[in-house]
Each structure stands twice: as C-alpha cells, then as structure tokens.
Amino acid sequence: MAEWIIVYGIIPFAKIAVIVLVLSGAVAYMTLLERKVIAHIQVRLGPMRVGWHGLLQPIADGLKFILKEDIVPARADKLLFTLAPAISLVPAFVVFAVIPFGPPGMMEDLLRWVLSPFLDAAAVESIATHSAASGGFVTDINIALLFVLSISSVGILGIILGGWASNSKYPLLGALRSSAQMISYEVALGFSVIGVLLVTQSLSLVQIVENQREAEVWYIFYQPLAFILFFICGMAETNRLPFDLPEAETELVGGFHTEYSGFRFSLFFIAEYAAMVTVSAVAVTLFLGGWLRPFPNVEWLSFLDLIPPLLWFVIKVFLLLYVFIWIRGTLPRYRFDQLMGYGWKLFLPLALANVIVTAGVVLALM
C-alpha cells in the first residue's frame, strides 16, 4: 500500500511540481524571447534596461502584475469574471500530465538515489523499476491524445466566460470571434491527428513515440501534410498571429481581456503561452519523434545519443516555439472572413483528404 502511494501519489507530485515550475519559468522567458526576437526582426533592440540585455525583464513584469490594482468593472458578473482566467489557465497546465518528456525508465537511477536513504533495498528496486514511476512523464494513459484534445478545449470556456462576464462590448466581440475561430480550427486539427493514428494505431503518447522508434522514422515523413495542418491549426487555436483576430489590438483594443488587469490578466497571458508550449510539445510527440534523436535509424549519427533524450525533446519544442515567434514577426494578420474561409474551405477538406488517402495507403501496405 505504501508503495502504491509512492508510485501514484508522491513521485507524480514531485514530477508535477518540477513541470509546473519549469513551465512557469519557460512561459515567463518566452515573453522575453518573443520581445527580443521580434525586436531584432524589426531592427530594434527590445528590452535592455532590466538586467543584462533585459534578462530580468520577466521577473520585473511578474512583480508588476502582482502589485497592480485588480479592477472588476462595476457591471461585470463578479463570480464568472473571477473564475474565467482560472478556467483558462488550469487546462493549459493539466495537459502536461500526459505529455512524455523522456523515455520509459528514464528516471530509474534518480529514483534509486533519492529513495535509498528512506526505504529498504527491495522496496527501492520495485519502485524504481515500476513503469508508472520511472518514466519521463507524469502518467501514461491509453487515451492520452483524446485527453489532450478534450482538456485543451476547456480553455475556450474561460475565454467565452471572460468576454461575457466583463459586460463590455469589445470583450464580448473578442470572445465571440475567439470561440468561433477556435472551434472552426479544432475540426481540422482533429482530422489531421487521425492520419497519425492510422499509422501508429495507438492513442497513448508514450506508445506513439515508441512506435516511431520501432519504425525508425519520425512520423513527419509519413504525414507531412498532417504536420503542416496541425501546426497551422495549432497557431489558430492559440490565437497567435497571423490568426490573432480575437485580440486584434487595432480593431478590438484587447479582445476578450480588455477589462482585465493585474494578476487576472497575467493568468490569461500565461494560459496563452502555455497553450503554445502544449501545441509545440504535442506536435513534437506526434510528428517529430518526441525524445528521439534525429534519424533514429542512421547508424553513423549515433554520436547524437550523447545528448540525453530529455534535452532532444526540449530542443525540438524550443525550435517550434521559435517558429511561432518567427511567423508572428513575419506575417500580417488575416481578415476574419479569410480566417473562417481557410479553416472551413481549405484546411478541413485537406485534412479529410489526408485521412482517406492515408487509410488507403495503410490498407494497401497491410
């Protein structure tokens, strides 16, 4: 019984604490990275004052968010106004419960080292080799991909509620646009994922990466179209440029969070950036081989194994996040009718065609 609590309670809790801390830090420094990269794209310097090349800027921003007055508009629905940012933030974090950062058995030695002062050798060994405890993930469930899609959709509720509860015109318009955009692109996103499922025949994210290791190829080479569709739809889902119409500053002021200030505003902000990390992490897991090194089948590249799997995962996620920022610095914003048109008339048929063609090819190769 004690062992069960350690395997399913204490060790996951430790992993969750690390993930939440790292993710918060990553989100904070994403904002700095974004400002810096966009500044240099536009031949500016970006933040330079707080710390060396603005390195302490995220900390200053965080302090300011906590110290700013928290304004609740007089006509707002107070309960929903308070709940909305939390509803938006919680799903963005919870998705990381099923994302595999490293291979199964990655933490065996670490667990042995940490647990040996507290337990006898037999118990330590049985916990350290337990598949649920030693993997480089919080938990491995057999419906992980479904879990990611369903939990991340809950975030939309936070945005709708935030816009509606403000009882102000710009937030309501922003929230409506945002929800229409997110549900439109979610359809194409769902279809693009099915292509990968047809190839790998599993919903467990750990299993999907393991299958890529056994197939000795990343699924992006089997499903290039699905990857492009997934990434574009992911950009639309996270309300990023060129799909940032919900917050289009020049026409809607700030979109659904116009009335939010201080810490509550920062919760929406963190949720948006955490969602970007989620999209990148899921894309890496499904298409770019998760923790696997590039070209897992090429023998003479085996020196790349010197970089540990966890680091490969982080590097790939970082590269995709950089692409997010790069695209923001490069492309102008779409019009809303163009946005809906692309979602329903271009990406959806393409994703559908991809599913049918993939099914046909898989059948022919069976």
Binding site: P73, F93, V94, A132, I183, A359, L363
Partner: protein, 118 residues
C-alpha cells in the same frame, strides 16, 4: 489501470492552487482604490452606450452547429483509426461510406452559403 489517472487529479489540484494563491497573495500587496470612472466598462473614452450583451451575428450560431456535427464525426473516427489494422478492408469501406455522407453534407452546407462570412 485506474491508478494512472490519480496523477492527473493531483495535477488539476496543483493547477487550481496556482491562481488561487496568486490572487490571495496579490490581495495583500496590491492597492484597492476603486472610483466610479475606473469601474466603467471601456469604450474608447466615451460613456458606455446601452448594454453590451446585445444581438450578434447569426453566423456564430451556424458555425457552432457545424462544429458539433464535424467534431462528433472526428470523435467517431478516433476509435476507428486505433483498430484500423484489425478492420482492414471492411473498415476502409465503412469509413468511405461514413465520410461520403459527411462530404455530401459538407458540400450542401458550402453551396447553401453557410461557410461564407461576408
């Protein structure tokens, strides 16, 4: 098997404590000086003109209905895709019929102009 869902529950609890703790700590530190003007809904500097929750375009409803149809469709395809190697040809034909009905509906919706936004 159910044990692997316990970490998710823990994660949800941890994620909920974050905003709660943040807001409570902030309450001790931040100023609270409301005035009538400050609490007014933002409308580019003018006093708000009637209620914000008025009518909005019917297209948002149409999109929502279309979303429900297509998203249920994707959910049906998930289990199908996972056991595709066992279904083989039977599964492929079934899916083509299933998606065929969907595609006919899709083109009907397109021709009816439900996907036009202007």
């Amino acid at each position: 098997m159910l044990g692997s869902y316990i970490p998710i529950l823990i994660f949800i609890l941890v994620a909920i404590t974050l905003p709660v703790v943040g807001l409570l700590v902030g309450r001790l530190l931040r100023p609270h000086l409301p005035t009538a003007d400050k609490l007014m809904p933002y409308e580019c500097g003018v006093d708000p003109v009637d209620d914000a929750r008025g009518r909005f375009s019917v297209r948002f409803y149409i999109i929502a209905i279309l979303f429900v149809i297509f998203d249920v469709e994707t959910i049906f395809l998930f289990p199908w895709a996972v056991i595709y190697d066992k279904l083989a040809l039977f599964g492929f034909i079934e899916m083509v019929i299933f998606l065929g009905i969907l595609i006919v509906g899709y083109f009907y919706v397109w021709k009816k102009g439900a996907l036009e936004w202007a």
